[in-house]
């Protein structure tokens, strides 16, 4: 597991090409920016704006020894564990949602010693990315004091030099790669997000390499007209791929609702068949369909339309 210091992370940033250039590329080439052994931070949260298209491509390219971090990890963590792509998860919580109970796959892997879940509080995850985004080695917080999380995670305490109060210090997280899905971006990577920002802006600043997928690529003039909505500046971004429905079957605020029927069917299959169900899912939805369009075709246009209609109603 690579743990970059703030100095390493700064040097990496200085060494990379931050020019104002056209960064449009394909999913296949964008995913190739991730190397075996990398720490990959996943944007969005749970089943919201998950960068599904890139995650799918990483699995297709059989990337391995990855460390995955996310604020709340959804079943993408299960796919990566069962595919043999990761044994290290850094998160505050993993599951799908209340009605679906514990993740049977997480249980099997962690209880069997085949994977490790490094657990932080939700704010601690946010502050670790934030410290990375700030270019400093840690941030203080009052979270995790008194908790056993402070002992199992690599947090430390200190006495505040100004007030004498006890503080918990969480170390900055500098992912090798952040993968983020947004609503619109220009070809340089100036990216806009509607609705929930989650932690994506911090992920993009903290990571050494940022892969952006976007529902649509727009002209820079359109970005300039609504500059207040830009969440990620071009100089943080390394690759831009236009992928409509790039988070599906997870939601993209205002554009499409999560396909809860699909997610529920997956959860029920995993609950009854365990890891075998995940293997089947990988075959059907990841390794089988060669392109993202072929993958979307498995859901069919009426399902996608329904998700779009639901999102419009919810954000009216």
């Amino acid at each position: 597991m690579s743990e970059l210091t703030f100095i390493d992370a700064r040097r990496r940033l200085e060494a990379k090409d931050r020019s104002l250039r056209d960064k449009r590329t394909s999913l296949v080439e964008a995913a190739a920016l991730v190397k075996d052994g990398d720490h990959v931070a996943i944007g969005g949260c749970l089943y919201s704006r998950t960068p599904m298209a890139v995650l799918r491509e990483l699995l297709r390219q059989r990337r391995g020894r990855l460390t995955l971090s996310r604020n709340l990890m959804c079943y993408e963590g299960e796919l990566f564990m069962v595919a043999g792509a990761t044994q290290e998860l850094v998160t505050s919580w993993m599951g799908i949602g209340l009605p679906w109970g514990l993740s049977r796959v997480l249980r099997e892997f962690v209880e069997g010693g085949r994977a490790r879940m490094e657990e932080w509080s939700h704010l601690a995850m946010g502050l670790r990315y934030r410290a990375g985004a700030m270019g400093v080695p840690f941030l203080p917080t009052l979270s995790m004091l008194g908790s056993d999380l402070r002992k199992t995670a690599a947090a430390k305490t200190m006495v505040c030099p100004f007030t004498g109060a006890q503080l918990c210090l969480v170390p900055a997280l500098f992912p090798d790669v952040a993968v983020v899905h947004v609503h619109r971006a220009d070809r340089f990577g100036n990216a806009q997000i509607d609705g929930y920002p989650h932690m994506d802006a911090d992920l993009a600043s903290a990571a050494s390499t940022v892969i952006l997928t976007t529902e649509e690529i727009v002209d820079t003039d359109e970005i300039r007209r609504t500059a207040d909505r830009t969440a990620i500046p071009f100089f943080a971004v390394d690759a831009v791929v236009e992928v409509p429905y790039g988070a599906f079957p997870h939601e993209c605020y205002g554009l499409y609702e999560a396909d809860l029927d699909h997610i529920g069917a997956y959860a029920r299959r995993v609950a009854s068949e365990g890891v075998e169900a995940v293997r089947g899912y990988l075959q059907d939805y990841v390794y089988g369909p060669e392109t993202f369009d072929a993958y979307l075709a498995l859901f069919g246009p009426s399902r996608l339309d329904r998700a779009r209609q639901a999102a419009r109603e919810l954000t009216r």
Partner: protein, 256 residues
Amino acid sequence: MAYTASELLAVTSSRLLADHKIVFAGVGTPLLASALARATHAPNLTIVVEGGVIGLEAQPGRLPISTNEMRAGRRAVMLPSITEIFLYAQRGFFDYGFLGGAQIDPYGNINTSVIGPAERPRVRLPGSGGACDIISHCREILIVTTHERRRFVERVDFVTSPGYLTGGEARAQAGLLFGALTWVVTDLALMRFHPETRRMQVDALQAGVEVQQVRDNTGFDLEVPPVPARLSPPAENELRILRQLDPDRLFLGPIG
């Protein structure tokens, strides 16, 4: 009128929420309780949720399943980042926080991480999420859960969310200077913490529940007042509102 444990929990906790306050609510029972309070005695209660929502307005039949999906953000006044939401909590803006948990000890310490040793758990639970942050930063904490012996244990295997730790002044000594655990709401009783020892004790019983039932379902010694107060059962209008909010009974549980 018959009701489920979840309905009872939602009603009892909703009655504890005052108007004009700000509640940090998770999905499920906390959200139902908060929405019910808004629909009855607390129309100016503001609901905040973890995914980054201030001012959630629950839409009947379309309750969010997670705190960070569109259903939760509907008609919000602000959608800040998740980190910002928790920083508002740390700053002290939020009056109430709701928690549940797989294991709860007499001092309100909660485990949602692991059963068995942390490095090789017997059961890997989902984890803290925001629970550790909520219990550390909200001004009043309500623990809301069904009352089971395997849940209310003398010692938790892992302190995910620190309550009063070992009791007395231990919470403040650990650096947690703010926030208090005020109520434990279960389907059998309403409990609170002794002002000095900080140990859980019974305050009132749910309708139709006897003291022995509470003791039988608690894995530690529980102080009970000689004549415990009685909570009034859910009123018809409270149940009606809950059932309108969750007509598919996704969170209310099956009747009968």
